[in-house]
């Protein structure tokens, strides 16, 4: 399969040309989190290198360093055998690095042709449609979009077309190192084929590709070699031919988090929350599950798997298309957030800056925001009761009680998350829904958040956690459900799962065997 690389890069090692990208002993620290710990990484000319690892393993940090968004603390980077400095991003671009982001940089109201010249250097100040369109047609042909009318506004394109347009934009800059960061997460099957075919073609042209993904079938169809990151450290690259799914999973596992998870309690028999046949946008099949008092149900899957669609729907943020949900035997209306909140559903979103905290407001106001009515009479807030209650919560979550007047935006990510979770305690919730509860949170705050969730369980609360972090799900949950591309695959008690099985299910499915390999190439 990887014959292109064999011819251009010399897989066997004899008289190898210089590496396109060589990274040695690179380290990066964020606060008290060691994101990269002296990693090595290499990329040959014309090679597709899959970069794998669990969330938090350091993949995105490496991408950020190579694309010039952040600066490494130590280590060396060579491009074509010469030492290179890739910070800031202008230098990285000049060195030929280009990243295809999950968030696109196309302007929806402008045409395809215009987007292809937007922000590019060396473009004449007068844009004549004829020239622009001719130029666009050439570029579009390079990424398999030759059927597209360059005058079409970008907002009419499909997600895959936008992604390929993004690639075309990067090719203008003569990018030699292309980084794809989970390009297929939001794509349908057919569209994935097109993106993969284009990537193959790019590598055949001699460009090098770093392919970051969580989907193993794509790795075996596309990559020449595989590098696995684990806990901020790198394993030596392996040829994709030598590997199979089991071997890759074995390489990825081994993150030691065991001690930070609190012990589980016992479960009641009668379920607290019954979800029957729930269907919402982002789900391909109805989902049914039960949450008992004191139980933590973990839903895990990658971006677009449907796990967070379930949680958002239960929170009243995503209107359900079908299904019935009962909380404590009473039907729960998922029509609006206000309705679910009144019924005792707390909801902690994945992106706390966007919709989890009021960054500019004091901690106390953040903590009391969902329950301020409870410490009020006839619309008057009792300052004393608000203070007492927010102090209690702050103390439970180890937030400095003396600082309740400080703005939440000034806190560390971990403390912000503690505020985002802690504020719901005051509502005496029956069910707590959490998405990615520890994303961007340091180890210490993680352990505290896990412990508090368990404490809540012993008080009879039911918890649903959606997380793409499989080790977190495995360590924290009583019951675990796996999701893959809009479907709930399996739901089992935690002791019937191994991390190996969990990772396998969320990254890979049996009916997508690597056998179909080469057919997408054109």
């Amino acid at each position: 399969m990887p014959e292109e690389a064999a011819s251009t890069g010399g897989l066997n090692g004899e008289t190898a040309p210089p590496l396109r990208l060589g990274v040695r002993r690179l380290s990066k620290r964020y606060g008290n989190v060691q994101a990269l710990d002296s990693i090595d990484f290499e990329l040959r000319p014309g090679e597709v290198m899959a970069l794998l690892g669990e969330n938090g393993a350091g993949k995105s940090t490496l991408v950020k360093i190579v694309s010039g968004l952040v600066q490494a603390d130590s280590g060396t980077i060579e491009i074509d055998g010469k030492p290179a400095s890739l910070y800031p991003s202008a230098r990285s671009q000049a060195a030929g690095v280009a990243v295809v982001h999950q968030e696109y940089s196309s302007v929806p109201t402008l045409s395809v042709a215009e987007n292809l010249v937007l922000g590019q250097k060396g473009i004449p100040p007068i844009w004549l449609p004829r020239e622009l369109n001719a130029r666009a047609r050439r570029l579009l042909a390079g990424v398999g979009l030759d059927y597209l009318d360059p005058r079409t506004p970008v907002e009419r394109l499909s997600v895959a077309e936008m992604q390929l347009l993004e690639v075309a934009r990067l090719l203008v800059r003569d990018a030699r190192i292309l980084i794809f960061d989970e390009p297929t997460a939001a794509l349908a099957d057919r569209e994935i084929e097109r993106v993969l075919a284009v990537i193959k073609r790019l590598s055949a042209e001699g460009r090098s590709v770093i392919y970051v993904t969580h989907r193993l079938p794509e790795v075996f169809r596309l990559a020449h070699r595989v590098t696995v990151f684990r806990n901020g450290q790198s394993l030596p690259p392996r040829s994709a031919d030598e590997l199979d799914v089991d071997a890759v999973i074995a390489m990825m596992l081994g993150r030691e988090l065991g001690t930070m998870f609190p012990a589980r309690g016992s479960l009641a028999d009668e379920p607290l929350l019954r979800v029957d046949g729930l269907l919402a946008e982002g789900l391909e099949e109805p989902v049914s599950l039960r949450v008992h008092p004191g139980e933590i149900v973990g839903l895990t899957g990658q971006l677009g798997s449907g796990a967070s669609a379930v949680v958002q729907s239960l929170a009243g943020m995503l209107p359900p298309l079908a299904g019935r949900v009962e909380l404590k035997g009473v039907e729960l209306s998922l029509r609006s957030r206000v309705a679910t909140l009144k019924s005792g559903v707390a909801y902690c979103t994945a992106d706390r800056k966007k919709d989890g905290i009021f960054a500019g407001r004091p901690i106390r106001e953040n903590l009391s925001s969902p329950w301020v009515r409870a410490v009020s009479s006839a619309g008057w807030i009792s300052g004393r009761r608000e203070r007492i209650r927010s102090r209690e919560i702050a103390a439970e979550f180890a937030i400095d009680v003396k600082r309740l007047g400080a703005a939440v935006g000034a806190l560390s990510g971990g403390n912000q998350q503690k505020v985002a979770v802690g504020k719901w305690l005051g509502t005496a919730p029956g069910v707590i829904l959490l998405e990615e509860p520890t994303r961007g949170v340091d180890i210490g705050a993680r352990a505290e958040i896990y412990q508090r969730l368990r404490d809540l369980c012993s008080a009879g609360v039911g918890i649903v956690v959606a997380s793409s972090d499989t080790s977190e799900i495995l360590g924290l949950s009583d019951t675990i459900a796996t999701f893959y591309r809009g479907r709930m695959i399996r739901i089992l008690p935690h002791d019937e799962w191994t991390e190996d099985a969990l990772v396998r299910e969320v990254m890979h499915q049996e009916d997508e065997a690597p056998a179909e390999a080469g057919e997408a190439a054109s």
Partner: protein
């Protein structure tokens, strides 16, 4: 959880009081300069005049603060709405209505007009454009009905409008009471808290079960009450009104609010600051009047101060958020 020393400062509180402190400092500096170069500044009459000038603008700026706090920017129909209240009040009294009844009707009418705008804004439409259009409609309707003429109270002269209570002009007293009431409303009630939170982050507020629609409409109600009070006070003081009353109120009230340091994006600010802003502008104006500044000079200085303060506060806020 380890908390680094640098973060231990109570930035929240410093931030809350910094703009007000700047305004007070500026106002004090203005007064000191005024006293030095204009000996007549510190006379009782002049102070009374300053306060009287600040009152109408102050009431409206204070009333608009909840709207701005909730993330709905400002209204461009301020002058026209206050004019509506003034014309209606004068016309009703001139028509022989008892004053308390006229007051109730005017306040209720203004609330209806305000809620209509608020309901449109609450759907997510741009408040600036909506109020711009609403102002034009109000102006057109009132001018059409009054025939562009003067409305008078005629035989039913209202005496209390230019009166004083214990030496304090009635407007000033009402300004004071109104400021206190709205400040308490914003700082002590659930409504006030929700208003600020919606302005601070609408998405988080939604997840916390706070309704943007309700907050927006209530903000327009408070605003309308303030506008009605301003119109009634001026009606009671002058016993006549035209559709051209309050020509500068829109600009003055927005200037007071912005100079007071309420963030136009919402989430930061207080009615107290807007009141301070109104006083500050009144002090400057008075100083310039006493020193024979022309209309142009005063407007230019007022505009310059607004730009300067707004930029200063914006930069302070940005520095703080970038950290």
């Amino acid at each position: 959880m380890r908390l680094s020393g640098a973060v231990r400062l109570p930035e929240g509180r410093v931030w809350d009081w910094l703009p007000l402190a700047i305004i007070i400092a500026l106002a004090l500096a203005g007064i000191i300069v005024a006293v030095i170069i204009t000996p007549s500044f510190l006379t009782v009459d002049n102070i009374r005049a300053i306060l009287r000038n600040a009152s109408i603008v102050g009431i409206v700026a204070v009333a608009m603060t909840p709207m701005t706090l909730s993330g709905n920017f400002v209204s461009l129909a301020i002058g026209q709405s206050a004019m509506l209240a003034m014309v209606c009040f004068v016309a009703l009294v001139g028509d022989g209505w008892p004053q308390p009844l006229a007051i109730i009707v005017v306040v209720a009418g203004l609330i209806v007009v305000g809620v209509m705008q608020g309901a449109i804004v609450a759907t997510g439409l741009n408040p600036i454009i909506i109020t711009l259009a609403a102002g034009a409609i109000i102006f057109g309707v009132v001018t059409e009905i009054t025939g562009a003429g003067i409305v008078r109270t005629g035989d039913y002269l209202i005496g209390w409008g230019s009166g004083t209570v214990g030496g304090i002009p009635i407007q000033v007293l009402i300004f004071l009471i109104f400021t206190v009431v709205v400040s308490i409303l914003m700082s002590r009630t659930v409504l006030g808290r929700e208003t600020t939170l919606v302005g601070a982050n609408r998405a988080t507020a939604r997840i916390s079960g706070i309704s943007f629609t309700r907050v927006t409409i209530l903000a327009f109600v408070i605003f309308s009450v303030g506008l009605a009070i301003a119109g009634i006070l001026n009606g009671a003081a002058f016993n006549q009104a035209t559709s051209r009353s309050f020509p500068n109120l829109t600009i003055d009230a927005i200037a007071a609010l912005l100079v007071g340091g309420t963030a136009i994006q919402g989430g930061h600010g207080s009615p107290l600051r807007s009141a301070g802003g109104a006083l500050f502008i009144a002090v400057i104006s008075s100083m310039m009047v006493l020193n024979d500044f022309s209309t142009g000079g005063r407007l230019a200085v007022q505009g310059g101060v607004v730009v300067a303060v707004v930029v200063l506060l914006h930069e302070l806020r940005r520095r703080r958020e970038v950290r």
